[in-house]
Assembly symmetry: C3
């Protein structure tokens, strides 16, 4: 059972953080094992990405995550979204999915990412991101989709750094960021591709709280999710949708168009070439080790 | 004359705050006496809600307030909106107006509230809220409609706490809040039904200034209203409408639809039942005293 | 050559700030000489308004500035927008262009200003405003169009103070301000016609950085423009347009309507009369000197 150590780790973390007896845990792991879900006796679920080395979002992880969130939001009262890895929350989209892709696979990849965003951004139970490590690009997006963000300081970073790789954040990444940190900070951050340290992230509202370590991060996120779960759920979720529906609608009414735009954009030589160089550099680096 | 002591109080407050001679006061009190208006010799009017114990907004108070604001904005140069009560600015909507209501009365109630919001949010003279006490729900809405907010610290609270009672703030409450504190803070505050203390309210921009007591609150609000009243009035009001017209339009073009939505929403058993329990609890509490 | 001393000044400033050898400067000055452009060997251009006494934006300066920005954005990698004057960045629109105007000239004036805004707000190379002095009204607009703003403290001021003169900021001035400092701060600032000192401007996000003197201001602005110029340019500019296109569209799709609205608005006796009095006062003041 390859997942056992990890499950134990999660169990321990959650035991410490949530002060619940492990006997009452309901643990479920989807087949592929990239995402684990642990629900405590108060009904709060911890959904952990566990795809080493950096939780890169390939089609598989994206679909498992969407499925885990959809299932959990029907059974649990709230979700703490986190990572089982020691220093990475989520490194963003898996570049190999976008490099010299088959058209059909590329479209499935992008459509799956759209579905994950829709599922998480409109989730009917409260969600909190326990950002226990680095969270660039798509990792930042996942965090921003949650109702609350707690981050471990001071060494990790978070942000939509797409421009640094020559890529443009899709409009719904941008909208999610504007809804989180406002127009001006988004504009500058997107142009520079800024990766914020936790202190900076807190000052512009990219995260809501900065803590010292993983345990505190899980505990603080658990606390706010628990608090949100005690608000009458219908009123709470209708209020959330009152805020987010227009942003959701702008993608849900244009999913196919957005897929086609992305597929065309990403396959341009001007985008593919630096991506190839970047992948070569990664390979060279890993061979040296 | 039941209002006399209160009028004296207001007179004194305003004398202290505004340093005008009482001889020049023009005092007018609408028939029902829930709202008083005192205009000083500089043309700044203090409009005070005075319906004990908590200035709950029933149809009567709502209509008197709308009328007072409409009349005053034609005769005065600016309005300080406040409360004659010692520790409450305004406690929000009167729940008995919404519990087991007659359909016709309910529709008048909601239409009157719409009119009050429209009148105050678009008021052609400068408006300042002197928040001398608690200001939850509808009280927070009234404050947010003004051009400036001063609040007495540190013990009172302000916020749209509807979700805590299982209710959802109407979209125009939400819009007014977004225009005041931005998208992200509104989202979290609406989901949690947060009541902010003055320090928190100041830090997120829900109020513009926090002072130590009632006199300072009235004086500080008076000062900014006076300053605004010296700006060329046409330019000042056109600028205000440039900012607020789209928000106003979203309700004015949908008033009847909004009334019907509200009436249907509020009469659901899932909403009526907790309301009934809440009212029972209030009765039991008041009998014990 | 009247411009010589000024060119030398600019050269010196840029030499100090940018640490480039003057030998590599490419200096070009448009015919009329109200705007100078100095591009260093890194490809960063300093575009300086130089129309004493206060860089008031008449049709001539507006058109020269638009032309300088358009040309420079095709040849340089980034633009530092500043002023050659000792204590004024730009004093805003030239009032004599709007007082008792010929209809045709007035329309050209306003259309030219629209074009300047469109050019600068959508500029394809990074732009930074080095606000070395006062920056009211139209000066504030120019600064807000840039990607970053550095201001010299503590004695200068910046803001859209139109209401103080009985004028209303056009909707696209307002939109630019909302995109910079948000809805609430814009609302209050427009109503009051607030001129912020640098510290206030920094606290609300009107400027991004405050420094002690002109040299530091040019250096700090140069630094961020240089940083932005190193981001892949296509991705950086597409990201910028993702943020700004809707705001740009609202004017570009209504240019003629906006010209007509402005021409009608500004020629009202209620607007012309105070403008005439203001100009008389200026004349009297300058005679006394």
């Amino acid at each position: 059972m390859a997942l056992a150590p990890n499950m134990r780790l999660l169990g321990n973390l959650c035991k410490n953080a949530c002060k619940v007896s492990s006997a009452r845990f309901s643990v479920s792991s989807p087949a592929a094992g990239n995402v684990s879900v642990v629900t405590d006796d108060k009904g709060i679920a911890t959904v952990s990405m566990d795809k080493g080395p950096v939780n890169s979002l390939n089609t598989e992880l994206i679909q498992e995550l969407t499925s885990a969130i959809a299932t959990t939001s029907n059974s649990a009262k709230g979700i703490v979204l986190t990572s089982s890895l020691p220093s990475v929350f989520c490194a963003g989209l898996e570049i190999t999915e976008m490099y010299q892709p088959e058209q059909a696979k590329l479209e499935v990849f992008w459509g799956s990412l759209q579905d994950l965003w829709i599922e998480l951004y409109s989730c009917k139970v409260p969600t909190g991101a326990a950002i226990i490590g680095h969270s660039p690009a798509g990792g930042c997006l996942l965090a921003m989709c949650c109702d609350y963000r707690t981050m471990v300081g001071p060494k990790f970073t978070i942000g939509l750094n797409e421009t640094q790789l020559g890529i443009v954040a899709p409009f719904w990444f941008k909208d999610t960021m504007v809804n989180t940190i406002g127009q001006r900070q988004t504009e500058l951050a997107l142009m520079l591709g800024t990766l914020f340290n936790p202190k900076q992230a807190l000052s512009i509202g990219m995260v809501d709280q900065v803590v010292d370590n993983r345990e505190e991060c899980l505990a603080a996120t658990y606390k706010i999710v628990s608090q949100l779960s005690k608000i009458p759920s219908e009123a709470r979720h209708v209020s959330k949708m009152l805020m987010r529906q227009p942003t959701l609608d702008s993608l849900t009414s244009n999913k196919q168009e957005d897929i086609e735009y992305f597929a065309k954009f990403i396959q341009q030589p001007i985008i593919q070439k630096p991506m190839g160089m970047y992948l070569e550099a990664l390979k060279a680096k890993s061979k040296k080790k």
